[in-house]
């Protein structure tokens, strides 16, 4: 393959990114399965990007429902 079409990346960077992606996506997949919230969507998105999926998941499925239930329990 010609050098201008190939940009080698150090192997440890690839491994580090792969580990981060795997950890993120596995957590998203298992947690979304537990909460019954589109596990395949969150898992696959977690495999492609970091840290957007985990931020959006935390916002939509953890933080906002928690705040909603808290405001229902304590209206004042």
């Amino acid at each position: 393959m010609p050098s201008e079409y190939y940009h080698p990346i150090p192997w440890w960077v690839v491994v580090l990114i792969a580990i981060i992606m795997m950890m993120q996506s596995f957590w998203l997949f298992t947690d979304a399965r537990r909460r019954e919230k589109n596990r395949w969507f969150w898992g696959i998105w977690g495999l492609i990007q970091f840290p957007m999926p985990i931020l959006f998941y935390s916002l939509f499925h953890i933080y906002l429902p928690h705040r909603k239930s808290k405001s229902k329990r304590d209206p004042s």
């Binding site: 190939y6 940009h7 990346i9 690839v14 596995f26 990007q49 959006f56 939509f60």
Partner: protein
């Protein structure tokens, strides 16, 4: 009419306190009914309460099946993960532009899906409080 009804009730009261009078025809019907009940009891097996051990075994089997299904699903997800991470690595090594476009398209699609599902849920009516 009302008077007649009350008269009837008053007449029936002393009868209800004493031994009920059963005519021959009624007695025959009752006998037939009892016979039918006995026949039904013979035909239909007596239902007994399930044993606790049997129920526990059912629960254990169900839990095992769910765990096995989850493990299989996780294995499938692992295979998908290998393909996606390998593909992304290849893409980033081949062309940064293509990788950037892919990332942008993915982000847009994911946000679109999230927004769409949010709108659909709002239209449908969020009934989480009913759970």
């Amino acid at each position: 009419m009302r008077k007649n009804k009350s008269d009837l009730n008053q007449q029936s009261l002393p009868n209800s306190s004493s031994e009920p009078h059963v005519s021959q025809e009624d007695q025959e019907l009752i006998d037939q009914l009892m016979l039918s009940f006995q026949q039904m009891d013979q035909v239909i097996p007596h239902s007994t309460a399930p044993h606790v051990g049997h129920l526990e075994q059912l629960i254990t089997e169900q839990k095992l099946a769910v765990r096995r299904r989850n493990q299989l699903e996780l294995l499938c997800f692992f295979l998908v993960a290998l393909v996606l991470i390998g593909g992304n690595t290849l893409l980033v090594m081949t062309s940064w532009t293509a990788f950037g476009i892919f990332q942008g398209v993915t982000l847009m699609a994911a946000l679109g899906f999230l927004f769409g599902s949010y709108v659909r849920r709002k239209k449908k009516g969020d009934v989480r409080h009913a759970k």
